[in-house]
């Protein structure tokens, strides 16, 4: 049979606790074919691939490799089935050379011979057109070179089913083109390739078929040649769901924060914010939508003074003096004093803003430790504040002296948001404040944001759920790869429109 599937998944289901990560997913990949798996953040793409590569074991369903049922319980099993996965986070030893990393953990027959291994690496490079120096140390490599090493590593082990988890997320457009050329060559060489991505134009230009996942569910597989961006977006984001979040009309809006053409480069030298400009008005919620890691974090940190900008200005319309202050020249403390508050809820909730081992009162004091007489701290007001927050936001806690890390996620977030709101901000920024929260806690947070808006605060809300953004915000700024892809009116915009804006890159050139 010419079209026998290299790998076939049948009705795979995986749950973590109550969360269904994958539900009844079935797909096939043939040799000499590139399959894209498309889906938003949290749609279960990576979980699914982790089951193929042996990191997780499916709760239900079967995996067939070359028509035979396969049981993959560990990464080693996956190796034995010639499955190689290239993770988003590279697993490389920095002080080792490329070749040392490639042969690490291998038990090749014969003597340990680095020179022979280097020759084999060179052969693989020539065959597929990789550019990597076998002797080069990993810590001197660029991100793209490191990725190349990872790919060679799996090829060296003889993998013929390759899984790449968002390989282009860290690459420049030129590097992406190079990677695609290599992937096409591998496909022509008869390898089965699965690539996880959420960039539509990449899907269209690279893959033969596209499988779409949405919130863990398998939506369908289409041939790339027979589809278009609009159809894929609709499959990806789905129909709009009514959430009935209360939204009031903005009143007395004045521009509070004006961001002018800011650029920002991260430590790896990648441009994370590229000419970003927008205005946040008082009495309005400005939503920020985008694929995770598109620069949302840097944007908020830039406003809060935590990120150094390459160029551009952040102007703050000071309601007390009526002056325009440039926040770029101020310290984070001064910015906070102006009433610009950042309530950042990063990937791990306690990482920024709260200290897990300290109780609620002490965490309140993280914002007021400069107050008090002489060397002594003022403990009474923070305690009152803590009690007030517990009361007002219905924080479930044994008492004010409970370490924050012992609270549930929702309650931790309420404490964090509550503390920042208590400072009567004029600009309030919240990133993913409802991540991981149950419905009720989420609505508490939405109401808090709405209250702030009604009190004339300029609220900036970074979210991941488009339905929420569309119902909660007044305007939505869509960010993609550090650029503003568009600012839309949340009352009239559609989910598809935002989905398309999120996934477009290069300022729309790819959309044609």
């Amino acid at each position: 049979m010419a079209t026998q599937a290299a790998i076939e998944l049948r009705n795979i289901t995986k749950t973590f606790g109550h969360v269904v990560a994958n539900k009844n997913v079935s797909l096939t990949v043939a040799r000499g074919e590139i399959l894209s798996i498309l889906g938003e953040n949290g749609s279960g793409k990576t979980t699914l691939m982790n089951m193929i590569s042996g990191i997780y074991f499916p709760d239900e369903g079967e995996i067939f490799i070359d028509g035979k049922e396969a049981v993959i319980t560990s990464p080693k099993d996956a190796f034995d089935y010639k499955i190689g996965m290239i993770h988003q986070h590279f697993k490389l030893v920095d002080v080792f050379s490329a070749t040392e990393n490639i042969v690490l953990g291998l038990n090749e027959a014969g003597k340990y011979n680095l020179e022979a291994a280097e020759d084999r690496v060179k052969t693989i490079c020539e065959r597929y057109g990789f550019e990597v120096e076998p002797k080069k140390k990993v810590y001197t490599m660029s991100v793209s070179e490191k990725q190349t090493v990872e790919i060679i590593k799996v090829l060296y082990r003889g993998a013929d089913i390759l899984i790449l988890d968002e390989p282009t997320a860290v690459l420049t457009p030129q590097e992406t083109q190079k990677l695609f050329a290599v992937l096409r060559r591998m496909r022509d060489d008869g390898k089965a390739i699965i690539i996880i991505t959420h960039k539509l134009h990449e899907v269209l230009s690279l893959s033969d078929r596209v499988a779409v996942l949405r919130k863990g569910e398998y939506i369908g597989t289409v041939n790339t040649a027979e589809t278009n961006e609009a159809e894929l977006t609709e499959m990806m984001v789905g129909k709009k769901i009514e959430l009935n979040i209360h939204r009031s009309e903005p009143k007395n809006t004045v521009p509070r924060l004006e961001v002018h053409h800011i650029d920002c480069t991260n430590r790896e030298g990648v441009l994370v914010l590229d000419d970003v400009s927008f205005t946040a008005n008082s009495g309005e919620i400005l939503g920020i939508a985008g694929i995770a890691g598109s620069g949302q974090r840097e944007l908020l940190e830039a406003i809060a003074g935590l990120q150094k900008l390459d160029s551009g200005a952040v102007l703050y319309n000071n309601p007390q003096t009526g002056n325009m202050d440039n926040l770029c020249s101020k310290t984070p403390l001064q910015i906070r004093e102006l009433g610009v508050r950042l309530s950042f809820v990063p990937e791990d909730r306690l990482g920024m803003g709260l200290v897990g081992n300290m109780d609620i009162v002490d965490n309140m004091m993280l914002r007021s430790y400069t107050k008090g007489k002489g060397v002594f701290l003022e403990r009474k007001p923070p305690k009152e504040l803590a009690e007030h927050i517990i009361d007002e936001l219905e924080v479930v806690t044994p008492g004010v002296n409970t370490p924050v890390r012992r609270l549930s996620g929702g309650n931790v977030q309420k404490v964090l948001v509550g503390r920042e709101i208590a400072a009567a901000p004029t600009v309030f920024m919240a990133a993913y404040p409802v991540r991981g929260l149950d419905i009720n806690s989420s609505y508490t947070i939405y109401n808090l944001l709405n209250q702030q808006k009604e009190q004339g605060v300029a609220v900036i809300f970074v979210g991941e759920d488009l339905d929420v953004l569309l119902e909660l915000c007044d305007r939505i700024l869509v960010i993609g790869s550090g650029r503003v892809n568009g600012i839309v009116d949340a009352r009239t915009a559609t989910k598809e429109e935002i989905g398309l804006l999120m996934t477009k890159t290069d300022g729309g050139k790819q959309n044609g």
Binding site: K91, L92, V93, L104, Y112
Partner: protein, 329 residues
């Protein structure tokens, strides 16, 4: 005089070389074993106990003693004691993931206490006038050197006049260096110390490597204690005479930039620096103490230089001191 100076620096350096080679092996697996001074101490007392029992069994008569056994019994006791300490350390830090610094320091205190306890007990047992235990008979076997060394002038005195543990220390350091840099096991071990998650993903048994490296490192370090008592101190054990050699061995690891070959030169340099005050005439008491600081001053200078040069190869293993949890997601 120069010859005597160099020749005397070498046995002084040997315990340091054993200690630092052992510590390098351990640190390459990502474990900072600050218990090395205690482990070397236990290695020393282990050898003393072994030698004491064997001398007793032979009726304290050198004529009854078999040279091979006289060396082997203390050697095995020393290694055994050190490995037990290493096992304790790895159980605490690898399996239970206790903080490595705290464990190491505790192990040093424990090892020295253990050594002093047994040392004191033996001294009581023989009812000696001096607060020390004398094992010159066993020591004479350990101190045996090449018979023709004396005929070769300065060359013989510097290179050939030493005990076999001195030569063994250099061989061990060279072997460790070869294994680390030229074998698959060495590559795997270095990967474990640099980035255990990566090693784990590559199918390397991280826990096993950590255990073996720590115990092997301890065994090597223990030999340093043995060499100190049996060769350098002529078989005379007195409590706390070992001094701060263990800490110097740890400083030497940094000085050697985690390279056993560098440790060979470093240990003899340290030995010379420790001894310099005895070979420079007319030093006052205070100046002598200042001279004794030299090895540490040199270590600090090396630390400053290497951290300024920022060469990644000269940095400690990246995973040093960090417990490893397999990611549970």
């Amino acid at each position: 005089m120069i010859t005597a100076f160099i020749s005397s620096a070498i046995p002084l350096g040997v315990p340091l070389l054993y200690g630092s080679t052992g510590e390098i092996v351990t640190e390459k697996s990502g474990h900072l074993n600050l218990g090395i001074p205690g482990i070397m101490y236990v290695g020393g007392i282990g050898g003393v106990i072994g030698a004491f029992l064997y001398e007793l069994a032979c009726g304290n008569d050198i004529a009854n003693m078999n040279p091979a056994l006289a060396i082997l019994i203390p050697l095995l006791c020393s290694i055994g004691g050190a490995i037990l300490m290493g096992l304790l350390y790895s159980f605490l830090t690898v399996t239970l993931r206790v903080n490595q610094n705290v464990t190491g320091l505790a192990l040093t205190t424990f090892g020295i206490g253990l050594g002093n306890f047994f040392g004191g007990s033996l001294i009581k047992l023989v009812d000696s006038d001096m607060p020390s235990i004398v094992l010159t008979k066993t020591s004479s076997f350990f101190r045996a050197s090449l018979p023709f060394a004396d005929d070769l002038g300065w060359f013989g005195e510097i290179f050939l006049s030493h005990d076999f543990l001195t030569y063994l220390s250099i061989v061990v350091a060279l072997v460790v260096s070869f294994v680390l840099n030229r074998t698959r096991v060495g590559l795997n071990l270095r990967a474990v110390g640099e980035n255990p998650a990566t090693a784990d993903a590559a199918g390397i048994h991280v826990t096993r490597y950590k255990y073996v490296a720590t115990c092997l490192g301890s065994a090597i370090a223990g030999l340093g204690g043995l060499q100190y008592v049996m060769a350098y101190a002529n078989g005379v054990w007195s409590n706390d005479a070992f001094g701060d050699r263990g800490w110097m061995a740890i400083a030497l690891v940094i000085f050697a930039l985690w390279k056993p070959t560098m440790a060979i030169f470093g240990s003899f340099l340290f030995g010379a620096l420790c001894n310099a005050n005895n070979y420079i005439n007319g030093l006052g008491d205070a100046t002598q103490e200042l001279f004794k600081m030299l090895p540490y001053v040199v270590t600090i200078i090396v630390l400053v230089i290497t951290s300024m040069r920022k060469k990644r190869e000269h940095q400690p293993p990246q995973g040093l001191g960090l417990p490893y949890f397999r990611e549970e997601r």
